[in-house]
Structure formats: C-alpha cells, structure tokens
Symmetry: C2
Subunit: 380 residues, 2 copies
C-alpha cells in the first residue's frame, strides 16, 4: 500500500485530468483539432509568462530552449555576461562556450543571489555585452534572483536580459512585460504540472531584432521557425502532442486561479516550509529563497544521499538531493506546481520523522506546527 | 459514437498498456526506478536497431536526432553527399546548410528511389565526402531506399553512411551491423508505437571517431553526453519520462515478436494495401514502395485535401495528404506500428467508400477482396 509523493523541483506531480488526457487515443499533429490545441495552449502561456509577446514552444527539455536562446540571439565571438550562482547559471556559460560566445562571468557563492550592483558595474565595464544571462530560481541552490532589478538596468542599454525561468515559471513572479525582460525560457515539468518534453520561450521586439542578426547555426532549435508556425497553431517538426494535451488541462487550472494567485499560493507554501525548517532547527541554504523550492543544509554528520534514498524507499517520499559540490550536503523540497497546503504538511511531517530516524534530535511536531501557524495566518 | 482510426505515418496509434503507462503518477528522472527504465529501454532498442552498438536518446522529435547527426559528426566546410528524393532528404541538406556543411546533392524524382550506381559514381567523384546522408523510407513519397547497397559501397571508403530511419524503423528492414551502416537515427512516434518526443541514434566505432573530430557547435543535441549518460541509465537533461514509460511497453511487444517478425508483419500489411489499391484501379506513387506506408496518386480531378478532410470529419479516418508539391495530389496510408490485418481492412474499406463518395467509379469491395486474398495466402 505504498503511496508515493514527489517533492522534486521537476518533474512535479501531474493533475489527474492532465494524466488522463495523455491516455486518450493520440491524434495527428496536422489535424485541425491539434491546430486548435496548439493555439489555445500558446494563448494561455502568454498569461503565465505575463506578456503580450508570442510564446513559442519546442519539443525538448528546458535546456533545449536555453540552447536555443544562445543559438538564436547571438553571433560567434559576441561577448555576454553570465550570472553563475549554481548549476543552471553554469549551464548558460557552458552553452555559450559551446557556440564560441565569449563569457564574462559573474560568479556568486552557491546559495547566494547576485547583488544587482555587481551586474550594474559589470554592465558599465562591458557595454558591448550583447546579453546578460540570468536565472530566476537557481534550482540547484533554491536561490531567487531579483530579475526586476536586472531588467531595470538592461532595458535602457543595448544589452538583452535573458532569463532562465525553467523551474520558477508560475511559482516565482516574473512580469516579463512590466519589468522589461527581453527573453524568458521555461519548460513543462515544473510549475506547469505537465510531464517533461516541452520547452517554451518568449521574446520581445528587441530580442527578435537580435534573432535577425544572429549567425550561429541552428535548425531543430530555430526560434523563428517555431514562432512563425506556432502562431498558426502549427509546428516545423512533429511536436509532443500528448504533452500538449496534458498541458492544456494544467493551463486551465492556472488560468482559472490567475497567475498572480498561483504565485501567491506558491509563496504561502514556501513561507510555511521555511518556517517549519527553522522550527526544526536546520539552516536554510539559500540566502534569498525562491517560492519554487526550499533547500536545507543538513547536519554535518548526515549523509544526505542516504537520507534521500531512505525517504524514497521506506516512506515513498521523493525529495531531491544536492547537485555538484552540494551532493549529500543539502536536501531540496519543492512546493511547486500541483501542490497546496496539505502537500506541505506531508512534506514537512515526513521530513521530521525521517531526520529523527537518522538520529537527529528533532522536536517532533515542531515543523508541522509551524506550517499550521503560517497557513492559518495566511487564511485569515 | 465516432470512433477514430489514425493511419498517418506518425504519430501512430499507441497500444493501451503504453497509453495507460503515461497516466501513472510521474516519477523523478534521477530515481533508481528511472535508471532501470532507461537501461531497459536502451537495451531493447539495440534489438530494434539490429545492432550491438549503444543506442542513445534525446528528448526531441526525430529531426532533433537528424540535426544532432550533422552537428556531432561533421566539421564546418566538410563536404557531404545528400540523397534528396523528398521532403526528408531535403531536410538533411537544409540541416547541413544551416551548419555550413557543403552539400553535394543527388536529386531524385519524388516517388523514385535513388539508383545505387548514381551514389557510387558520386562517391568516386567525391572521395573527400565525409558522409552520405540517406533515408530508409522517404515518408513524403513512400519510397524505400536500398540502404544495404549503399552500405556496401561506403563501408570500404572513408565516407560514413548516415540513415534517417525516422519513419521506417521497425517496419522496413535495416540491419545496421550486418550491412555496415554507420549511423541510424529514428524516433518514438512511428514504428515504435509511442507518442512523439523521443529521438534515437546509434553510431558505430567509425562514426564515434568522427564525433571526436567534429568541431560544429552543439550542447542540447550533444550525442557524446547523451551516450555517456545513457549507458549508465542517466541523462544530461531531464528526459520525457512518461514517454520512456510508454516506450517500454511498446518495446516489450516488439521484442516478444522479434524485430524480423515485426518487419514481416509490416510487409504483409504493405503488400495487401498495394494489392488493394491496384484492384481499385489507382496508381501507386512510389516506384519502390516501403513497408511503412503506401502513397496513392489520386485521380486528376480529385482535390486530395478535400478527400482527407472529409474522411476525417465524416468517417473518423485520418490519412495523411501530400506534402510540398504533392499537396492535394497524393494520399498516404500508413500501416505502421500497432497495426495488423484488421486495420488494413478498415483503412482500405473506408478508402473505397470515401473515393466512391467523391464520385470516383470504384468497384466496391475490390480493394477489400484483394486484401483478403493477400492475407489468406500469407497465412497459409
């Protein structure tokens, strides 16, 4: 009678109507029904991206859209500024290097978020930089970045702001148009409550001009083709039609609540989780934590890998461990997508019991009580 | 009480156990269960590819693997020979051009298959060509190519043979190792009876040497990363886990019958379909038709688009129309993937009724009778 709970920052649980949509007989991707499906999905995505720009999609994981951002916006030997505060910031610079784009790195200690002043001074030293590559929520650390502050600087320059919102879209606020962000990329399997396999990008007019200048090679990840076809409800290549069908159901839920209420729900869950971890007596890893997930630094004597494995095998609870240098040192609990207050209670109560089993002296119930208090207050 | 039948050359119908696998609660892609799933799928794919080489996968449509073949095997300004006998042969040359690879085209009339002698003479004129790009079944025309003959030429040269088996894998024979094919690419939504979103490639030792020399930019479509992680049951980027779950069920079916029996089944369905079309009195479009699909040239007075639309809307039967110059002129009926004799009967009987409704003077029952005769004989 094992019942599984998935608290990883992607894939995230899929609502049952979306799950069942995928088990319907599959349809042809050139049918009028699929054309209507694609148009509907891309229209609703604009609400989620908080933009009037068109949203394009690719059949790929989020990294496909990140790769595409570099390949479509830049030219060989262009200089760009990359904020590296974890594995996904580093991914931006790996992609740039793969394409022969010169990276001016801003390295931030993992767990911290970049100070906007450092970006400002780097921008003034390198006004020739074609783009700043940033991350809304650095999933490897749980740190949120102040994208609004970055956009405030870049929008008056010739430098584009390109934001990886892969994990945080729909969980942390990102007002593409209001803030003046040039490019946002994301994917299906996080806040969008859909299995992995679809990636998205939205570009403003400034960014499309850069696309027209770009000379880097691209074919499958060609943004212009995806965009031109997408607005007609079509695709250059066979898309993941079953995932589009699931996404439509998931987007209906988000649009029904509205994107701002969806973000508020994530914020309530995040505050409750952080409050619980503090009550349990463990330190949060990120200095400016995101709504997307909470990273917890484990006690020195803990082997985080053993803990994560034990929780999955014995309790059916899947948290994410640390990546790279953080392997075994932190645990990451996502409160992302199709989740509400009761899921936070499950995540925290299981965490309490689990660390107690590992021998950590935890005041049982302290975390759950803290969650209850936050949730009660936020309901008032 | 509309009941839909999908006869397009991808997506193809999904077996119910595979459909239901996708509606199970989603799992984390770094779990031990997913590692075991990936290992099992990639092992079974070797049987389907008829190779001892490792098979790698990407989360993309088949074109992602085609793009990857160019980006991973070649260098800028390399010369390659591209056989262009339809839309997908042309796609090879579009990808090469996107990467600055020089294309030596062999243009073949759409519907025809390349004469191996022409490839041989092009190879002898251009021994510097790094690769020949070919297509097993040219899906836009239904033409089969003699890959064995091409491999016979290339295997004694320095030129690699790269085969697009996107639509034909599991339907038309392709003995990668026995024939000496260097690279084969394919995808999930055709003979593999799984929704679109996964692409595959297998490379032999010669091809991996070319990968090590290649200087074209790649990141998301990096074959080496996908291969190195794949053999450990892992991935460089979040994979389409629900599609992998479905694929496992689909592969179990293929492996149970065996790849050669699977190909024989497709051959029986193809022969029956062709025989029916002849009995109906319409010409086949491809001179060497594949097992994958049958292309039929419609009567001059027919608007093929109207016919395809009417069949879908009125009868729930989805055939594929023509692409590019063939739009409205041909209809394509796939007998591909999760299909057997009874599906051919449905496809042909509906076709008979449909063209009769369009005013074509068809001897009703002639096609179905021809199918019956072929099937009866093949059962004896």
């Amino acid at each position: 009678m094992k019942k599984s709970h998935l608290f990883t920052p992607g894939p995230t649980p899929i609502p049952p109507d979306a799950l069942l949509a995928m088990s319907q007989p599959i349809d042809y991707h050139r049918s009028e029904d699929t054309v209507a499906l694609i148009k509907d999905v891309l229209k609703k995505m604009k609400h989620v991206f908080q933009t009037d720009n068109d949203v394009l999609f690719l059949t790929s994981s989020g990294t496909g859209a990140m790769d595409g951002a570099v390949a479509n916006l830049l030219c060989k030997d262009d200089k760009v500024i990359v904020i590296r505060s974890g594995k996904f910031g580093e991914r931006w610079s790996e992609i740039c290097e793969a394409y022969g784009v010169q990276v001016i790195p801003i390295d931030v200690r993992w767990g911290d978020s970049v100070a906007p002043e450092i970006v400002e001074s780097t921008l003034s030293t390198h006004p020739e930089a074609k783009a700043v590559f940033a991350t809304l929520c650095e999933t490897s650390t749980g740190a949120l970045h102040d994208i609004e502050a970055l956009a405030d600087m870049t929008k008056s320059t010739q430098t584009l702001l390109v934001v990886d919102a892969v994990s945080a879209l729909g969980a942390d606020d990102l007002q593409m148009d209001n803030w003046g962000v040039d490019v946002v990329v994301s994917c299906s399997q996080k806040g969008l409550m859909t299995p992995p396999g679809l990636a998205f990008a939205a570009l403003n007019q400034r960014a499309w001009k850069a696309v027209n200048r770009s000379n880097l090679p691209k074919y499958y990840l060609d943004y212009r083709k995806a965009h031109e076809r997408g607005i007609e409800g079509s695709v250059p290549f066979t898309p993941a039609v079953t995932l589009l069908a699931a996404l439509q159901y998931a987007l209906n839920r988000i649009c029904e609540d509205g994107i701002q209420e969806t973000i508020c729900r994530h914020n309530r869950m995040a505050i409750a989780t952080r409050s619980a971890i503090k009550a349990i007596g463990l330190p949060l890893f990120a200095t400016s934590p995101a709504n997307t997930l909470t990273s917890i630094r484990l006690p020195e004597e803990f082997d985080g890998k053993v803990f994560v494995k034990m929780m999955r095998e014995k309790h059916g609870i899947t948290y994410a461990g640390g990546q790279g240098n953080l392997s075994g040192k932190i645990v990451r609990i996502a409160h992302l997508g199709w989740m509400n207050e009761n899921d936070v209670i499950v995540a925290i109560s299981a965490f309490e019991r689990g660390i107690a089993e590992m021998g950590y002296d935890v005041p049982l119930g302290a975390g759950v009580t803290a969650v209850q208090e936050v949730l009660k207050n936020s309901m008032d």
